[in-house]
Symmetry: D2
Subunit: 409 residues, 4 copies
């Protein structure tokens, strides 16, 4: 066993950290101001500047395991870099490593046709356009993805798409040119072979971005979380990825690395919240002592440190298992981090808010915004409950024949 980062990873960590400190953290307030000026739903100049700078330094497309298109990093190598980027809500996009583009690009690399790659993957890799993923629906419990009702019906050489999606993150950004739509195409097939993924250009007639969904009052502009209506949207039949009814197959492949990314970003955010908490605890005084010395405050700091360290190791180990044995083999581990990381981040951020007093819930510190963003991650890509059920089933599966608990949830 060796818990040290490789030289290659260590070098990238240092370069990334330096970039964050020199460029990204100082840009946070600027970004906020630029969003606040005029139309909130336009891209900001500062982000484009950051992207140019990062690209110039070779810090670009660091994700994409096992592909010559990215930096050639394994999931485990990329993970600590995702943590560093995750320390800022604007920390991933400068390196073209922001969700949902990363997941979408991976899908295109693995399952896209040459035509798909030329038209959509290439400009995405160059950071010229952005993308969205349309899966969750307002009308059904999407925790059970087979509930999805939005559908695509083949009509000759085309799909005719109808339905309503929401939490289509990023679709409010005018740079978002392509969506991966997942919907019902083969209602008579077995349960997990009824849905397909289809590429839908954002400007296709019939696509309506209805509204940005706020998260605890934050609109997350200019990215935004869109409710999208598809009304008789027509796209070529070839836009289906991998094949009809293979949506869940792709989803499984897409989710693994994405979860590592998300979790490591959560850990980065938790780590930065802990820094803020510590700094506040030694700089403010009440009852004649620094806050750090009052009551159980030091315990909150200690517990935060413990939880973060544990979450990081669990995630790195999951990434390691994915790299060594494949996503399927690491299924329980990936579910475990999906539960752990956002919950740890929320707890740490909540304690940091408490240490900051009223300032903590305001926007003078980023804590409340971070809390809101992390809170969505206990729901996105399946709520905690679904993942706990999967972990538990996997565990008892060691002691009973699989079939015996088939209908168990």
């Amino acid at each position: 066993m060796d818990f040290a980062y490789s030289a290659k990873v260590q070098d990238l960590r240092e370069r990334l950290t330096a970039f964050m400190e020199a460029n990204v953290y100082p840009a946070e307030k600027v970004f906020e101001e630029q969003v606040a000026q005029g139309d909130r739903w336009q891209p900001t100049q500062i982000m484009e500047d950051l992207k140019a700078k990062a690209k110039a330094e070779g810090l670009w497309n660091l994700f994409l395991p096992e592909s010559e298109l990215g930096a050639g990093l394994t999931n485990m190598e990329y993970a600590p870099l995702a943590e560093i980027m995750g320390r800022s809500l604007i920390g991933s996009e400068p390196f073209n490593c922001a969700a949902p583009d990363t997941g979408n690009m991976e899908v295109l690399v693995r399952y896209g046709s040459e035509e798909h790659k030329r038209t959509w993957l290439e400009p995405l890799l160059r950071g010229e356009i952005r993308s969205a993923f349309a899966m969750t629906e307002p009308g059904v419990a999407s925790s059970d993805a087979t509930n999805m009702e939005a559908n695509a019906v083949r009509d000759g050489d085309e799909w005719v798409i109808n339905g309503r999606k929401w939490w289509t993150s990023g679709a409010c950004d005018p740079r978002c040119k392509i969506m991966i739509f997942m919907g019902l195409t083969n209602p008579d097939a077995p349960r997990h072979q009824q849905h397909s993924m289809i590429l839908v250009p954002t400007d296709a007639p019939g696509v309506k971005i209805l509204r940005p969904l706020p998260v605890f009052g934050y609109d997350d502009a200019p990215h935004g979380h869109a409710e999208v209506l598809f009304e008789n949207v027509r796209v070529p039949y070839e836009n289906v990825l991998l094949g009809e009814g293979r949506g869940f197959e792709i989803a499984q492949g897409r989710l693994g690395p994405g979860r590592i990314h998300h979790c490591m970003r959560s850990i980065g955010m938790a780590e930065r919240a802990l820094e803020l908490m510590c700094k506040r605890s030694v700089s403010r005084t009440a009852f004649g002592k620094p806050l750090a010395r009052l009551g159980g405050n030091i315990d909150h700091i200690a517990n935060s440190r413990i939880e973060i360290n544990q979450a990081r190791l669990l995630t790195l180990n999951a990434a390691y298992m994915m790299d060594k044995a494949g996503n399927k083999f690491a299924q329980s581990e990936i579910a475990q981090i999906k539960v752990v990381a956002p919950n740890v981040a929320l707890q740490v951020i909540d304690r940091a808010i408490q240490m900051h007093g009223g300032a903590g819930v305001s926007n003078d510190f980023p804590l409340a915004y971070w809390y809101a963003m992390q809170r969505t991650l206990r729901l996105a890509d399946g709520p905690d409950e679904v993942h706990r059920a999967a972990i538990g089933k996997y565990e008892i599966g060691k002691y009973v024949p699989k079939d015996a608990l088939r209908s168990s949830r």
Copy 2:
């Protein structure tokens, strides 16, 4: 022992509930729309209509224990009514029972001069103006209220006030005409006799409402939580309440009933969140079952019910002790509910969010907004930590001579 509500209280509960159902709940969306139209910081027509209607029905100024000015209810009698009002964020103002006016009116009733009462209390009781309470400061850890640095210096017949306050809730509303300012007036007196409360008209020269502080992205308009600058603000010397250096004395008296109100409102909100959670759990289906029948969901509902019931009984008992033996005697109990009620509300609301999936963090349901508002209550009027320390000290005080732990915190 008798756990039943008196006939008088039961009658008021029924009338209030009927009013809420007929008028307040249906007004929630309207209120939201009216705030969203044009200037968010103007009062809404719907609220003025609700006030008129409630006043006409005699549901007006129900708070004010031991005073002929209100409904003549004890704290314990008023508590269950506050719960009902607390079920909606716009549920207290229609009855002229909204914070911080309630606390401010109580202060004026108890400690105001005839002149103060005529000028400020009467229009407040009529619901014509509103008020604010300026205590917390951005520059110091206000959990230790003796840290307050904003000050008032006597200059002949006047006070000259300087300093910066924040979380001066309600000060953004143009109807807010009067603030109770608490600040340093006697820096050389013993620690708890250095501060005074002084009436400051919102339109006094030198008072600057700098900005509304958002709470998790919500501006809470048109009420708002203001940062207020006082620059050489001059008010008559008589504006001091009760006397110089008696700020903490008033604060103690003010807080007791206010905490009952706040806690019962939190419980009302938790109760309504539990309703939403239950309804969602039986109306959405995943994996072939209603959510209520999946995994530990039923436990979350059960735990919510238990926690709410316990919080309510604890609060009612604290109110009972206040009524029977006085605020001072109920000191530990009041601190206990201050810790319990917001935390219970947050837990229940968080579980309700989780049961709602993505809808829970959006604004299609009120849950995220409620969460944000409740989160502030773990900080307002002293963070949990301060109250736990007080409860603990009171407890060990039974076993040691008071002096032995004097400096203990």
Copy 3:
């Protein structure tokens, strides 16, 4: 609403408290010593002395609501007395108020024939004999009581009983002369009408007390928790209580008051553990301070106070509801306290152990023993899980037609 104890209850509380302080607490060590001398499974002289003394003071059979045989107290009136007795593991028997006799006597009062009463109830009421309740079985998940397999088959004028029971508390005590056996008698009846309760003398041929079951290493002698084998045990047919197949009907009635007793005793124990914790925290010094002033220790004390107060109010309110509206009406509330009280007691005791360091897990303090005893109460009379499910179902039942969730658990 009136949270004060009535004069009658207050008087009994004072007399009981005085008796505990004068007689019971000082007897604890003596009791332990007498048990340790010779045969652990013989009754102790000290307990017989305490009984005589309590009886002489009129502190006898205080339970038994709505019966002229006891003290004529309602559940709510008796509850605070049970708390006081519960402060000592030997605190209930002196007053002839110990489980399982209390529940068994109630069953005999309500459902026994005149003959049953004369033979068993009267000596029980006089404290001459003791009794046991044989329900839980080692071979099946007894959390679902309909799983019970031990059975009684009618053979002419007799029942022939076979099966194995365990956790038959008290059956190891030679004074235990009668058991209420619950078992399968009508296997073809509807699910909740298959079982009956039958009186079985402990000395009936075929009854074998196999062994005392230890609880965390404690044998709880001379009371003991027995595994009992019934091998072709014959008792008269008239020994069936209320009638064939009515076992669950009786069980429902038996459990309500018993749960109030158990819960209040748990609260009494928690209260005494908190006292021990506070005393230790102010009498031991580390790092130059009393333990009470180190880190989060004061928070543990505060949380304990809060939890105890809440659990007590919840239990008193459940008792109130039972008295006013009947056991059935208070079903959810009774389930709530069954979950809350033992868990609160365990938490408080665990914190008290931690404050005592190594002494806490030893027998120099009663804490570890108390912990073990309380831990069984999360399982006895149904595990937490069953009660939470019942509470949750009751809650969602408000929003759906009962039938819709019939099979829900």
Copy 4:
């Protein structure tokens, strides 16, 4: 990074696991029976047999990092082996890897004179004798080790030792021939240089093993946790280890590896408890379903899996840091695992108890005994509170000059 065990470790893991399955698990009941027969405080034949067998297979003295006397394993290499041994309470001694001998042997290796080694280390390494560590005292809060009052006074060529120790684990076993006594020798030196470690033969005149201390009713025979009185015990001056006043220096060195061992054993126990929980959950039926499919049971299993995995990774990483950078560098990490591992084990075992119903608290399953043993580990070698304070202080130390918080605890 590489999360895989090395070939060498993997081989040892397999051999150890095979040995446990073939020999240790089947011996558990036998061991229990042999202890129960006759004098509980005599060594058992079964254990001597197991030792002979393990020694013959070369599974002997696997601990002892950086020493040619053991297996030459690093802390990280030994850690997964300690986990396997920890799965049984009798799982370490067969391999001569049981506490407190392991820690004591390490001390003798590092700090013992040639004479000490010949007399005590060699028979310990051969498994012929056992040892104890006498540090904690009943009269003071030993969480602050500088409180220790038992003392040794030099009298010519001898130490004269007086005082009272408890939790001297293993001293009740007649094979225990040597104790490391830690006590006050230089009361006028700086705080952490006042105490020394001195070798005291168990049969030295004046050493009195007063009693075994039970843990939750378990005596842990024949090992036992002794209260020991030292009355004018005389040992040669050379018996002092390393030098006068260097007790804390040794303690620091002793604790690091020992904590890894303890924590990995806790994890092994938690892992086995999870196995028992899973097996029970699929083999018992209630309400028509296996327990695993009822309510939140599957969540308890999932959470247990997550917590165990996290605790293991945290501990392995701490071991790694110790190996690479030294105990001092890994100080916060060692404190972190000391908090995490026993708490995780307790939670998992408690859930397993709950899944077993009444059987769980009895001795038909090992769960209650395990719980009791793990509970002591939240106190032994310093309570959680002390470790959390250390972790927290380390954390805030990153943001302030060390001196600024010197007196902070």
